[in-house]
Symmetry: C2
Subunit: 140 residues, 2 copies
Protein backbone atom coordinates (compact mmCIF):
# COMPACT_ATOMS: atom_id res chain seq x y z
CA UNK A 1 0.00 0.00 0.00
CA UNK A 2 1.14 3.56 -0.74
CA UNK A 3 -0.16 6.58 1.18
CA UNK A 4 -1.20 9.63 -0.85
CA UNK A 5 -1.73 12.73 1.27
CA UNK A 6 -3.11 16.09 0.09
CA UNK A 7 -4.01 19.38 1.80
CA UNK A 8 -6.87 21.65 0.78
CA UNK A 9 -6.61 24.97 2.62
CA UNK A 10 -9.50 27.42 2.84
CA UNK A 11 -8.47 30.84 1.48
CA UNK A 12 -11.63 33.00 1.65
CA UNK A 13 -15.22 32.76 0.46
CA UNK A 14 -15.44 29.40 -1.37
CA UNK A 15 -11.81 29.41 -2.55
CA UNK A 16 -9.43 26.65 -1.44
CA UNK A 17 -5.78 26.03 -2.32
CA UNK A 18 -4.79 22.42 -2.97
CA UNK A 19 -1.27 21.27 -2.23
CA UNK A 20 -0.65 18.00 -4.05
CA UNK A 21 2.75 16.42 -4.78
CA UNK A 22 4.34 19.77 -3.88
CA UNK A 23 2.25 21.74 -6.41
CA UNK A 24 -0.45 24.31 -5.60
CA UNK A 25 -3.64 25.12 -7.44
CA UNK A 26 -6.87 26.85 -6.45
CA UNK A 27 -10.48 25.71 -6.71
CA UNK A 28 -13.44 28.03 -6.26
CA UNK A 29 -17.20 28.20 -6.72
CA UNK A 30 -18.82 30.57 -9.19
CA UNK A 31 -20.60 33.74 -8.03
CA UNK A 32 -24.00 31.96 -7.92
CA UNK A 33 -22.66 29.81 -5.06
CA UNK A 34 -20.72 32.48 -3.17
CA UNK A 35 -17.43 32.10 -5.03
CA UNK A 36 -15.28 34.32 -7.22
CA UNK A 37 -14.23 31.81 -9.92
CA UNK A 38 -10.56 31.90 -8.87
CA UNK A 39 -10.11 28.33 -10.12
CA UNK A 40 -12.13 25.38 -11.44
CA UNK A 41 -15.04 23.87 -9.48
CA UNK A 42 -13.93 20.84 -7.43
CA UNK A 43 -16.31 18.27 -8.93
CA UNK A 44 -14.91 18.31 -12.52
CA UNK A 45 -11.49 17.47 -11.02
CA UNK A 46 -12.87 13.91 -11.07
CA UNK A 47 -13.00 14.21 -14.88
CA UNK A 48 -9.45 15.68 -14.98
CA UNK A 49 -8.19 12.87 -12.78
CA UNK A 50 -9.72 10.28 -15.08
CA UNK A 51 -8.37 11.91 -18.26
CA UNK A 52 -4.85 12.33 -16.87
CA UNK A 53 -4.63 8.81 -15.47
CA UNK A 54 -5.86 7.16 -18.67
CA UNK A 55 -4.03 9.64 -20.92
CA UNK A 56 -0.67 8.71 -19.40
CA UNK A 57 -1.43 5.01 -19.96
CA UNK A 58 -2.35 5.62 -23.60
CA UNK A 59 0.74 7.77 -24.33
CA UNK A 60 2.98 5.15 -22.77
CA UNK A 61 1.37 2.20 -24.60
CA UNK A 62 1.28 3.96 -28.00
CA UNK A 63 4.98 4.84 -27.64
CA UNK A 64 5.78 1.17 -27.04
CA UNK A 65 3.70 0.33 -30.16
CA UNK A 66 5.71 2.92 -32.19
CA UNK A 67 2.51 4.83 -32.95
CA UNK A 68 3.32 8.54 -33.43
CA UNK A 69 0.90 11.43 -33.02
CA UNK A 70 1.41 15.19 -33.08
CA UNK A 71 -1.65 16.11 -30.97
CA UNK A 72 -3.67 14.24 -28.37
CA UNK A 73 -6.56 15.57 -26.30
CA UNK A 74 -8.99 13.82 -24.02
CA UNK A 75 -12.36 15.46 -23.79
CA UNK A 76 -14.45 14.23 -20.87
CA UNK A 77 -18.18 14.79 -20.62
CA UNK A 78 -19.95 14.14 -17.33
CA UNK A 79 -23.73 14.18 -16.97
CA UNK A 80 -24.52 15.51 -13.52
CA UNK A 81 -27.83 14.56 -11.91
CA UNK A 82 -30.19 17.16 -10.40
CA UNK A 83 -30.87 15.57 -6.98
CA UNK A 84 -28.62 15.95 -3.91
CA UNK A 85 -26.05 14.54 -3.56
CA UNK A 86 -25.37 15.59 -7.17
CA UNK A 87 -23.29 12.85 -8.78
CA UNK A 88 -22.21 12.09 -12.34
CA UNK A 89 -24.74 9.62 -13.71
CA UNK A 90 -22.59 8.94 -16.78
CA UNK A 91 -19.12 9.91 -17.97
CA UNK A 92 -17.83 9.73 -21.55
CA UNK A 93 -14.16 9.97 -22.53
CA UNK A 94 -13.36 11.04 -26.09
CA UNK A 95 -9.74 10.32 -27.05
CA UNK A 96 -8.89 12.74 -29.90
CA UNK A 97 -5.75 12.40 -32.06
CA UNK A 98 -3.97 14.19 -34.88
CA UNK A 99 -1.17 12.38 -36.68
CA UNK A 100 0.80 13.31 -39.82
CA UNK A 101 1.54 9.66 -40.65
CA UNK A 102 -1.83 8.26 -39.60
CA UNK A 103 -2.43 5.94 -36.68
CA UNK A 104 -3.32 2.24 -36.75
CA UNK A 105 -6.89 2.28 -35.41
CA UNK A 106 -6.64 -1.29 -34.08
CA UNK A 107 -3.56 -0.38 -32.07
CA UNK A 108 -5.12 2.80 -30.71
CA UNK A 109 -8.21 0.82 -29.65
CA UNK A 110 -6.01 -1.78 -28.00
CA UNK A 111 -4.13 0.95 -26.09
CA UNK A 112 -7.38 2.52 -24.84
CA UNK A 113 -8.81 -0.89 -23.94
CA UNK A 114 -5.71 -1.79 -21.94
CA UNK A 115 -5.99 1.46 -20.02
CA UNK A 116 -9.72 1.16 -19.39
CA UNK A 117 -9.74 -2.54 -18.51
CA UNK A 118 -6.39 -3.12 -16.81
CA UNK A 119 -4.36 -0.07 -15.81
CA UNK A 120 -6.38 3.05 -15.07
CA UNK A 121 -7.23 3.02 -11.36
CA UNK A 122 -9.40 6.14 -11.61
CA UNK A 123 -11.50 4.46 -14.28
CA UNK A 124 -11.85 1.35 -12.11
CA UNK A 125 -13.10 3.50 -9.22
CA UNK A 126 -15.51 5.71 -11.19
CA UNK A 127 -17.00 2.68 -12.99
CA UNK A 128 -18.32 1.56 -9.60
CA UNK A 129 -20.20 4.86 -9.24
CA UNK A 130 -21.56 5.55 -12.74
CA UNK A 131 -21.72 4.44 -16.36
CA UNK A 132 -18.40 5.05 -18.12
CA UNK A 133 -18.03 4.92 -21.91
CA UNK A 134 -15.35 6.01 -24.39
CA UNK A 135 -14.80 6.80 -28.05
CA UNK A 136 -11.86 7.62 -30.33
CA UNK A 137 -11.75 10.49 -32.85
CA UNK A 138 -9.12 11.26 -35.50
CA UNK A 139 -9.03 14.97 -36.32
CA UNK A 140 -7.42 16.74 -39.29
CA UNK B 1 -29.11 16.99 -15.93
CA UNK B 2 -26.15 19.34 -16.37
CA UNK B 3 -23.27 18.63 -18.74
CA UNK B 4 -19.73 19.18 -17.42
CA UNK B 5 -17.09 19.12 -20.15
CA UNK B 6 -13.31 19.24 -19.67
CA UNK B 7 -10.27 19.02 -21.98
CA UNK B 8 -6.96 17.39 -21.08
CA UNK B 9 -4.36 18.20 -23.73
CA UNK B 10 -1.10 16.29 -24.07
CA UNK B 11 1.90 18.69 -23.85
CA UNK B 12 4.99 16.43 -24.00
CA UNK B 13 6.31 13.39 -22.16
CA UNK B 14 3.65 12.60 -19.54
CA UNK B 15 2.53 16.22 -19.05
CA UNK B 16 -1.06 17.23 -19.82
CA UNK B 17 -2.82 20.59 -19.49
CA UNK B 18 -6.36 20.50 -18.11
CA UNK B 19 -8.85 23.17 -19.14
CA UNK B 20 -11.73 23.17 -16.67
CA UNK B 21 -14.28 25.95 -16.16
CA UNK B 22 -11.97 28.23 -18.19
CA UNK B 23 -8.95 27.59 -15.94
CA UNK B 24 -5.75 25.76 -16.88
CA UNK B 25 -3.51 23.57 -14.77
CA UNK B 26 -0.93 20.93 -15.59
CA UNK B 27 -0.58 17.34 -14.38
CA UNK B 28 2.55 15.27 -14.88
CA UNK B 29 4.18 12.00 -13.81
CA UNK B 30 7.37 11.93 -11.78
CA UNK B 31 10.70 11.00 -13.39
CA UNK B 32 10.30 7.32 -12.43
CA UNK B 33 7.34 7.10 -14.82
CA UNK B 34 8.73 9.23 -17.67
CA UNK B 35 7.50 12.59 -16.37
CA UNK B 36 9.13 15.84 -15.28
CA UNK B 37 6.95 16.70 -12.25
CA UNK B 38 5.48 19.80 -13.94
CA UNK B 39 2.30 19.40 -11.90
CA UNK B 40 0.57 16.97 -9.52
CA UNK B 41 -0.07 13.33 -10.46
CA UNK B 42 -3.61 12.83 -11.81
CA UNK B 43 -4.83 10.25 -9.29
CA UNK B 44 -4.65 12.47 -6.15
CA UNK B 45 -6.95 14.93 -7.97
CA UNK B 46 -9.68 12.55 -6.75
CA UNK B 47 -8.67 13.53 -3.20
CA UNK B 48 -8.62 17.25 -4.12
CA UNK B 49 -12.04 16.94 -5.71
CA UNK B 50 -13.42 15.31 -2.57
CA UNK B 51 -11.86 17.89 -0.22
CA UNK B 52 -13.03 20.87 -2.28
CA UNK B 53 -16.58 19.59 -2.73
CA UNK B 54 -17.05 18.77 0.95
CA UNK B 55 -15.06 21.82 2.12
CA UNK B 56 -17.42 24.19 0.30
CA UNK B 57 -20.41 22.47 1.94
CA UNK B 58 -18.86 22.78 5.40
CA UNK B 59 -17.90 26.47 4.98
CA UNK B 60 -21.39 27.27 3.77
CA UNK B 61 -23.18 25.34 6.57
CA UNK B 62 -20.92 26.71 9.36
CA UNK B 63 -21.54 30.26 8.11
CA UNK B 64 -25.29 29.67 8.36
CA UNK B 65 -24.73 28.33 11.91
CA UNK B 66 -22.72 31.52 12.80
CA UNK B 67 -19.68 29.39 13.62
CA UNK B 68 -16.52 31.43 12.95
CA UNK B 69 -13.07 30.03 12.24
CA UNK B 70 -9.81 31.69 11.22
CA UNK B 71 -8.23 28.66 9.54
CA UNK B 72 -9.65 25.55 7.92
CA UNK B 73 -7.74 22.80 6.14
CA UNK B 74 -8.85 19.43 4.85
CA UNK B 75 -6.15 16.81 4.83
CA UNK B 76 -7.04 13.77 2.75
CA UNK B 77 -5.20 10.49 3.04
CA UNK B 78 -5.73 7.81 0.40
CA UNK B 79 -4.36 4.28 0.74
CA UNK B 80 -3.48 3.08 -2.74
CA UNK B 81 -3.40 -0.65 -3.42
CA UNK B 82 -0.46 -2.37 -5.10
CA UNK B 83 -2.27 -4.39 -7.80
CA UNK B 84 -3.30 -3.02 -11.22
CA UNK B 85 -5.59 -1.22 -11.66
CA UNK B 86 -4.23 0.68 -8.64
CA UNK B 87 -7.20 2.12 -6.76
CA UNK B 88 -7.66 3.80 -3.39
CA UNK B 89 -8.73 1.07 -0.97
CA UNK B 90 -9.59 3.61 1.72
CA UNK B 91 -9.77 7.39 1.97
CA UNK B 92 -9.78 9.44 5.17
CA UNK B 93 -10.74 13.12 5.38
CA UNK B 94 -9.42 15.11 8.35
CA UNK B 95 -11.23 18.43 8.79
CA UNK B 96 -8.82 20.72 10.71
CA UNK B 97 -9.90 24.03 12.27
CA UNK B 98 -8.42 26.95 14.16
CA UNK B 99 -10.78 29.39 15.84
CA UNK B 100 -10.08 32.30 18.19
CA UNK B 101 -13.54 32.06 19.80
CA UNK B 102 -13.77 28.26 19.80
CA UNK B 103 -16.19 26.21 17.74
CA UNK B 104 -19.23 24.26 18.93
CA UNK B 105 -18.12 20.66 18.28
CA UNK B 106 -21.70 19.39 17.92
CA UNK B 107 -22.37 21.98 15.21
CA UNK B 108 -19.13 21.20 13.39
CA UNK B 109 -19.99 17.48 13.46
CA UNK B 110 -23.46 18.23 12.16
CA UNK B 111 -22.02 20.31 9.30
CA UNK B 112 -19.62 17.53 8.29
CA UNK B 113 -22.35 14.90 8.59
CA UNK B 114 -24.68 16.93 6.37
CA UNK B 115 -21.95 17.21 3.74
CA UNK B 116 -20.96 13.55 3.90
CA UNK B 117 -24.49 12.13 4.04
CA UNK B 118 -26.57 14.55 1.97
CA UNK B 119 -24.71 17.10 -0.14
CA UNK B 120 -21.25 16.06 -1.30
CA UNK B 121 -21.64 14.32 -4.66
CA UNK B 122 -17.95 13.41 -4.84
CA UNK B 123 -18.23 11.65 -1.49
CA UNK B 124 -21.31 9.78 -2.66
CA UNK B 125 -19.42 8.56 -5.75
CA UNK B 126 -16.16 7.58 -4.03
CA UNK B 127 -18.03 5.73 -1.26
CA UNK B 128 -19.18 3.29 -3.94
CA UNK B 129 -15.55 2.53 -4.81
CA UNK B 130 -13.79 2.41 -1.42
CA UNK B 131 -14.09 2.85 2.33
CA UNK B 132 -14.44 6.54 3.25
CA UNK B 133 -14.02 7.83 6.81
CA UNK B 134 -13.57 11.25 8.39
CA UNK B 135 -12.40 12.96 11.55
CA UNK B 136 -12.31 16.50 12.96
CA UNK B 137 -9.28 18.16 14.61
CA UNK B 138 -9.06 21.49 16.45
CA UNK B 139 -5.57 22.95 16.25
CA UNK B 140 -4.04 25.75 18.33
Amino acid sequence: MTLHSTDTLWLEGMAFENTTDGHQFTVDADSKFGGQDKGPRPKPLLLNSLAGCSGMDVVSILQKMKQEFSWFNIRVEGQLGDEHPKTYESIKLIYQFKSADGLDDAKVRKAVNLSQDQYCGVSAMLKKACELTWDIEYLE
